[in-house]
């Protein structure tokens, strides 16, 4: 989408940087940026509960999806070597997905009452939850 939008927006020279701002107003570029932000948010979310060596191979499924979209939506030619690449990535993701998501040794204690209060959680919940008692 970004590529399509930037091709519509035309060349941008260093002397006319306002072209970049105008390019953002292009709907394709705007949707591309929103999708990139959505990717980043999802990536951050995944990293908060899973290992980096678990999340990274999973994100590489994007390459596979891209190749499949190129083949079936854009009717581009996908060479046998690229099909092999798709198979290798899928196999790699399958390997890592079969194992545990989190292996790091950091076992944090449950948050204290002060921490929960700082987070804005209602204190009644902490008291009635039975965790602290």
């Amino acid at each position: 989408m970004l590529s399509h939008g930037m091709k519509q927006a035309g060349n941008i020279s260093l002397h006319h940087l306002q072209g970049v701002i105008l390019a953002v107003l292009n709907p394709w570029v705007a949707v591309g940026i929103v999708l990139l932000l959505a990717f980043f948010a999802s990536y951050m979310n995944a990293l908060s509960w899973a290992d980096l060596t678990y999340v990274l191979p999973a994100t590489s499924l994007g390459y596979v999806l891209l190749a499949l979209v190129a083949k079936f939506a854009l009717h581009e030619e996908v060479s046998p070597l690229r099909w092999l690449g798709i198979a290798l990535i899928s196999g790699g993701v399958g390997f890592v997905a079969g194992g545990p998501a989190l292996t790091s040794h950091e076992h944090k204690p449950p948050p204290s009452r002060e921490e929960r209060e700082k987070d804005g959680a209602p204190t009644e919940e902490v008291v009635s939850g039975g965790v602290q008692r």
């Binding site: 290798l88 790699g92 987070d119």
Partner: protein, 126 residues
Amino acid sequence: MKSAYTWGGILVIVFASVVGDILLARAMKQVGDVHALLCRAGVWTVVARILSNSNFFLGVGAMAVAFFSLLFALSWGDVSLVAPAAASLTFIGNAFAARIFLHEKVDRRRWIAAVLVAAGVALLAG
């Protein structure tokens, strides 16, 4: 000489990407499980926690360095070399760095996955 510049650029991309990924992963582990935090304390607490984490900003900075290094490297070398080499070396580098700095248990299963994905990305992007 141009090839040396290209490979130098690729190494800078890989180094900056690995540093960025490690810092972002560490930042999000410090923030904690986003979904649980979201249910417990709301979206603004999550945003505030992430934005008050210095590792997050260092990680984003390293990612920006990686992006601009990619642009430089692309001006020196072919995209068919720079893109797959940088992407696949980043996967391998991340497996090493996650083991050392994040103390993740990178077992045989994960090594095989890293090598398979790196090879696959090299074939797809090449």
